[in-house]
Symmetry: C2
Subunit: 249 residues, 2 copies
C-alpha cells in the first residue's frame, strides 16, 4: 500500500506468560482491527518480558518511532506488575499516587490495602484511562497508552482511550476466498498488485473442510479503489476456475 | 528468574494480516512452549509487516542480539511473500535456486511453474528445513530459522529444526490456581518471590465461572526448587483461604 499520512502505531504486549507457552495473546487482533477502523496504521507489535530494562528500552524506541504506542499487561497489584514503574523510568519522571485513581479504587468495593494502592501509582503527568470493569485505571503519558492485559479490560480501556486519538483515513478491507492453490494464481495476482500500488493485496492460504484455497484481501484508504481492485481479482480468479466467494472481514 | 547460560531466542511473526485484525496468530504460544522444553529462553517476539526494509532491519537487530531467531510467514509463492528475499538481503548474500528444494517441490504433486519455483529460492549458504506437509521447505542460515506461517506447517518445521538447536537446561513450570483477588495476596506472594530469586513467579488473574482468581506459576531450571517454592506458595494461599488447586501447564 502506498504510504499515506495516517498516524502510525506500535503495540507492546508485556508479560512472561505470553512468551512461555502458557497464555495465548487475545489483545493484538482486537487492537489491530480497531486501529484500522480509526485509520491508524499498526506498523508492528512486540511481545516482551516483565523486565524493567526491556520495557524501558522498547517503550523509548517505539514512542520515538510511531505516532502512538499501546501497551498491555503488567499494571496489577502483584510483584511482577512493573509496567507503570517502567513507563515512569522511560519518561524519566516520578511514579506518583494519583488522587483520582485512589477514589476510583476506593469505589471498586475491595479493601484499599497497600497492594491495591500500587494500582493508583502512575507516572507524573499521566492522564487516567477509564476501566469500567474493575476500577483500576490505565493511563496515557504523551503518546503512550498503558492498558491492562486481561482482554475484556484491555478492550474496554482501548474504547475509553479512543477519543484521545487522532484519526486517519479509515483503512478499508475487502476479501474473497478462492479454491485454488496459491501457486496456480500467484502470477495473475502479482500482475494485479503491480498495476495497483495504491492498495495492498494479501494472499492467505488455508486448508478447510479438505479443500485448499486462499483468502485474498485488498486494503486501502480509498474504498472505491479497494472494491474495484477486488472485482478485478474476482474476474481473474473466475477465469482460473477459482469459484470466488466474497467474505466479510 | 536469575540468569542462566541457556541459549536465548526471538520470534519474528511476519505478515500484514497479523497486524490488521484479520488473523489471530497461532504460532507464538506453540514455539514459546517448545523452546521452554528445550531450555531456550524466548526473550521477545515481534510481529512485523511484509515490508522489505522492516524485515531486514528486525532480522539483523535480533540475530545479533539472541542465540536464535525464528521467523514465521512470507515464504509462499505470492507477491507478498518476501521473507526469503529479505533474509538474503539481511545477510548480504544472493537468493539462489536450491536443487534439492526443486526436487522436493517436483515431488509435491503440483505443476512446478514459475510461481512455485520461487519457493525453491533460498539465501546462498542456507540449509533446508523439512516440510512434511506441503513439500516447500523452510531454511536455516546461520542462527536464523525461517518457517512457514500456516500453523501446522510452522509446527512441523519447528520439529524438523529442533535437532539443529543447542539445548539449555529445561525450564520447568509448576502452577496452582487460587480463588483470591490479586490485591489480597500480592504482598505474601512478593515476600516469597523476594526470598527465591532463583525462580520466576508469575501471577495471572482470571475470571471464570463467576469467580475471580489467579493462576500462580513458578518457573525455573531447578525442578526441585520450583516444586519447593510452589509448596510454599500453596501453604501461604491456603492460610489466606485461597483453596489452591494444582494445575497442569
Amino acid at each position: 500500500m502506498s504510504r499515506d499520512d495516517n498516524p502510525t502505531a506500535c503495540v507492546l504486549l508485556i508479560g512472561n506468560e505470553l512468551l512461555s507457552g502458557k497464555t495465548q495473546d487475545a489483545n493484538l487482533k482486537f487492537i489491530g482491527g480497531e486501529l484500522a477502523k480509526l485509520g491508524i496504521r499498526l506498523e508492528e507489535a512486540r511481545v516482551i518480558r516483565d523486565d524493567m530494562d526491556a520495557i524501558v528500552a522498547h517503550v523509548n524506541e517505539c514512542r520515538a518511532k510511531y505516532t502512538y504506542v499501546f501497551t498491555t499487561g503488567g499494571i496489577g497489584p502483584t510483584h511482577d506488575d512493573i509496567t507503570a514503574e517502567a513507563i515512569a523510568k522511560a519518561f524519566d519522571v516520578d511514579l506518583v499516587v494519583d488522587p483520582e485513581a485512589v477514589v476510583r479504587l476506593k469505589h471498586g468495593g475491595r479493601e484499599l490495602n497497600e497492594a491495591r494502592l500500587k494500582m493508583a501509582r502512575v507516572p507524573a503527568g499521566a492522564e487516567l484511562i477509564d476501566n469500567p470493569i474493575s476500577a483500576a485505571p490505565g493511563f496515557r503519558i504523551e503518546n503512550v497508552f498503558v492498558l491492562a492485559g486481561i482482554p475484556p479490560i484491555a478492550h474496554a480501556m482501548f474504547a475509553a482511550a479512543e477519543p484521545m486519538l487522532r484519526r486517519g483515513r479509515t483503512i478499508h478491507a475487502r476479501g474473497v476466498d478462492v479454491f485454488l492453490r496459491e501457486g496456480d494464481f500467484a502470477l495473475d495476482l502479482e500482475r494485479i498488485a503491480r498495476a495497483h500500488p495504491e492498495v495492498e493485496i494479501g494472499s492467505y492460504p488455508f486448508h478447510r473442510d479438505g479443500k485448499y484455497g486462499a483468502s485474498l484481501v485488498v486494503r486501502g484508504t480509498d474504498e472505491v479503489r479497494v472494491e474495484a481492485v477486488l472485482q478485478e481479482i474476482i474476474a481473474a480468479m473466475t477465469a482460473l476456475g477459482g469459484a470466488p466467494e466474497r467474505t466479510r472481514l
